[in-house]
């Protein structure tokens, strides 16, 4: 057997990793070269990138098409407010706790909605998000239906001075995006990641080869909920204000996210990255047009779905046989180069 070797990375992926690292260093240094407005925009991009990557993990890999992830965005935001305002926690500590609580609350939710199949599952996720919204609107300590603002002393406790605070908040957004993508990448490269793809292809065979399908999907759901709640906490830490309608907005936290994933390429790690860039490019150039901007977004989504259902990355990948985040296995003969090649 020694004449065969198994490879996972490719030349393109090494180049991509090098470029990715350079880009990361460059972005991490933004507080020294970017203005306040640019940093705010970049933060927003990172947070959307994290949300889109998580939605893609669920829908594109685990087949869990949710239209209710705003439940965890809003939940995370509210938990941050509650824990800092009433628990006296620093926001930096409250963020991981919001993730932990998001995981806990997602467990009973999963038990409930995993009984639903296909479109009913999607509707179920939306109903749950509405229940979350209505519930938080009842909590008068958190401002009820009109919401509340984060007290100034909590905001100022994060770091000394406005510039330091803004840099910190920027790094948190960059950090969560990196953590989310790195976690998804590592997970998809593991045996459980391979199992997700197998389940996507053929549930009958997956079950018959020892994969616990329910458990795999459950883990993906709970981990996605935890990370989504952490992103939600960061989103509302930046906004400083929270209300049920903003926190549980299906438009902001799910519709735009689905748009990003669909145009970028569902079921790939690269897709949400490209989709996020395209989305913000469109938004920054067209947002002044108001309603027309939303119509254009809709048209772009429809055209992509009809002409290239695999999204922009799907087209590029099949044209150039590219893989920036290598998940596959390649067997090569070490002595000669035949036999192992496709």
């Amino acid at each position: 057997m020694s004449s065969y070797r198994v490879f996972r990375a490719s030349k393109a992926s090494y180049i991509a990793a090098a470029f990715g690292l350079i880009a990361l260093i460059f972005l991490a240094a933004a507080p020294w070269w970017a203005g306040r407005a640019d940093m705010r925009l970049l933060s927003e991009i990172f947070l959307y990138l994290a949300l889109a990557s998580l939605w893609n993990l669920m829908a594109g890999y685990a087949g869990l098409v949710s239209v209710g992830q705003q439940a965890y965005v809003g939940f995370g935001g509210y938990m941050l407010f509650a824990m800092t305002m009433f628990g006296g926690l620093s926001p930096l500590v409250a963020i991981p706790f919001a993730g932990l609580l998001g995981a806990l609350i997602s467990i009973p939710v999963a038990m409930l909605i995993f009984r639903l199949r296909g479109a009913y599952f999607a509707i179920g996720t939306w109903v749950i998000a509405e229940v979350f919204r209505l519930s938080f609107a009842q909590v008068s300590a958190l401002g009820g239906g009109s919401g509340s603002s984060l007290p100034a002393k909590i905001v100022t406790s994060m770091a000394d001075g406005r510039e330091a605070r803004e840099a910190l908040s920027y790094w948190l957004a960059l950090g969560i995006a990196v953590v989310v993508i790195a976690a998804i990448y590592r997970f998809l490269r593991s045996r459980n990641g391979l199992a997700l793809t197998a389940i996507r292809d053929n549930e009958l065979a997956a079950g018959s080869l020892g994969i616990d399908i329910w458990w795999m999907k459950f883990v993906v759901y709970v981990v996605s909920a935890a990370l989504t709640a952490m992103v939600g906490a960061l989103i509302f830490l930046q906004k400083i204000r929270i209300s049920p309608d903003a926190a549980f907005s299906v438009n902001d936290w799910t519709a735009f996210v689905i748009f990003i994933v669909v145009i970028g390429g569902i079921g790939t790690i690269e897709g949400p990255i490209i989709g996020t860039l395209v989305f913000f490019l469109l938004r920054e150039t067209l947002a002044d047009l108001g309603t027309i901007y939303l119509i254009i977004l809709g048209l772009v989504a429809i055209v992509v779905m009809l002409k290239a259902p695999q999204g922009i990355w799907g087209v590029l990948r099949s044209k150039f046989d590219l893989q920036l985040f290598p998940l596959t296995y390649r067997v090569q003969t070490t002595s000669s180069n035949k036999g192992g090649e496709q």
Binding site: M1, Y4, V6, R191, L194, A195, T197, A198, R200, D201, N202, L204, A205, A206, G207, S208, L209, G210, I211, D212, I213, T328, Y329, R330, V331, G339, G340, E341, Q342
Partner: protein, 242 residues
Amino acid sequence: MPKILRIAGINKAFGAVIVADNVAFDLEEGTALGVVGPNGAGKTSLFNLITGTLRVDSGEIYFLGSEITKLSAAKRCRQGVARSFQVPQPFVGLTVFENAMIAATHSAGLSGQQAEERCLEVIAQTGLMSKVNVQAGKLTLLDRKRLELTRALCTNPELLLLDEIAGGLTDAECTSLIQTIKDIHATGVSIIWIEHVVHALLAVVDRLIVIDFGRLIADGDPKTIMESREVQEIYLGIDIDA
């Protein structure tokens, strides 16, 4: 020493169609058991019941002495029951190697280099090495059947269920398949093999059962059974020596 498999009076019906009618038999460890019977007799359904793809209406199934009747297909596979599907069920988006890795990492419990080596070993054994990096969705039907055998072997089974894997092979391919299955059997794996290609079956099995309308109608020495009147009647029109 417990029997590798004990089927205790299992029943299964789809509406009016009875696919298992009080089926009962034991399997000694290390046996190669052949299964024959007309189309629609319930042979594949029997495999589905043993592996957990289908649930019995009543009766029990024991694997190595412990009851598995209520376990999921995944758990049964991890305990050592592997099967090939008559209609191949490949993971079409994954390569041959990745298909094998699923079995090795999730059922056999191997990881890292051990898993990779096991997969390469089996792929070489089943004759798929030239397609090792090909996506399973692009394989021909014959190669898909080889992939079924490959994946089942990569689970490191103790009981291997094979469902019509010899159909459509050339003589040379069939001879090599027979040798492969004999090799697997020689390592101590118990085998149950449903096969219409009778000469291939008889070359391997040391016991034969016949199923008709969900009932087990004969059980014993392969040659004696194939020559018996019941089987000759069922197989009227099928050339036994083919």
